[in-house]
Subunit: 158 residues, 2 copies
């Protein structure tokens, strides 16, 4: 099974910058919404968050921008889980435009499960959520990776 | 000389998510505006872009989220140039809240100089811009790095 289609959106006019294309930060916003959709998918939806006081915090985000996105594009995001432990999910997304073969961006997020009480502290996933995350991780293992993965950023020869 | 203070902003209510703090993507938006401010500083402002058809494209962005930011915070961004070649700038930002010692996020961007004509093609910086970038790079060399730098994302023991 390839990556899981998880989010789809049109491009708002306010997201276009002076270069005439989707501003870098709005790729991040689309990916952030995709991350919310992933939470819904594995059982960490609004009802779960309200009932438990638990949620995910993003601790790291790394995006590779491969192609421009324009106002007329419809963007689709697919997700896969690259790894997980008792309180963290390492997830990857690819972002493409409807009707275009090339992937427009790839991204990785590190997400941390926390409890928001008087203070914020990390907390383990419960068994149903851990199982759902594990199922997604297993589903993604044979999918080819469509672009550059996270790596140390540096000037490379070109 | 430490990193160059480059951008300052209040937090808009719409930037706060269901966790009660600044959504991950809006750190990216603040950093994107800081990147625009860096362009202004080295001579790639709106007048330059209009006159030449040249601009910067973000090709990579990597953010480490270290502390939450809330609606009442005033965010300040400092920039440094980690490296550059004839058409690329590798820049780092740190983001902190007024009155708080801890850095709230660190980030790195790889920015590519392009010409937007009938097609988009990379193009070298002119001498005045290359000199301004070089001056910023030299200014940042003795500043201690306040947080994690870009690296391959992976689950690490904790």
């Amino acid at each position: 099974m390839p990556a899981t289609p998880i989010y789809r959106t049109a491009i708002l006019p306010a997201w276009i910058d002076y270069n005439g294309h989707l501003r870098d930060a709005y790729y991040a916003l689309i990916l952030s919404y995709a991350s919310d959709a992933l939470m819904d998918l594995v059982g960490m939806d609004a009802a779960y968050r309200a009932a438990t006081g638990n949620t995910l915090y993003t601790v790291e985000m790394h995006i590779h921008y491969l192609h421009e996105i324009h106002h007329s594009d419809i963007v689709m995001v697919a997700a896969r889980v690259l790894g997980a432990d008792h309180k963290r999910i390492h997830t990857a997304f690819d972002l493409s435009c409807e009707g275009q073969a090339a992937v427009a961006a790839t991204a990785e997020f590190m997400l941390l499960h926390v409890h928001q009480g008087d203070t914020v502290s990390t907390t383990p996933f419960g068994p149903p959520i851990a199982a759902a995350i594990g199922a997604l991780a297993a589903a993604g293992t044979d999918a080819p990776w469509p672009g550059p993965g996270s790596r140390r950023m540096q000037l490379r020869g070109r």
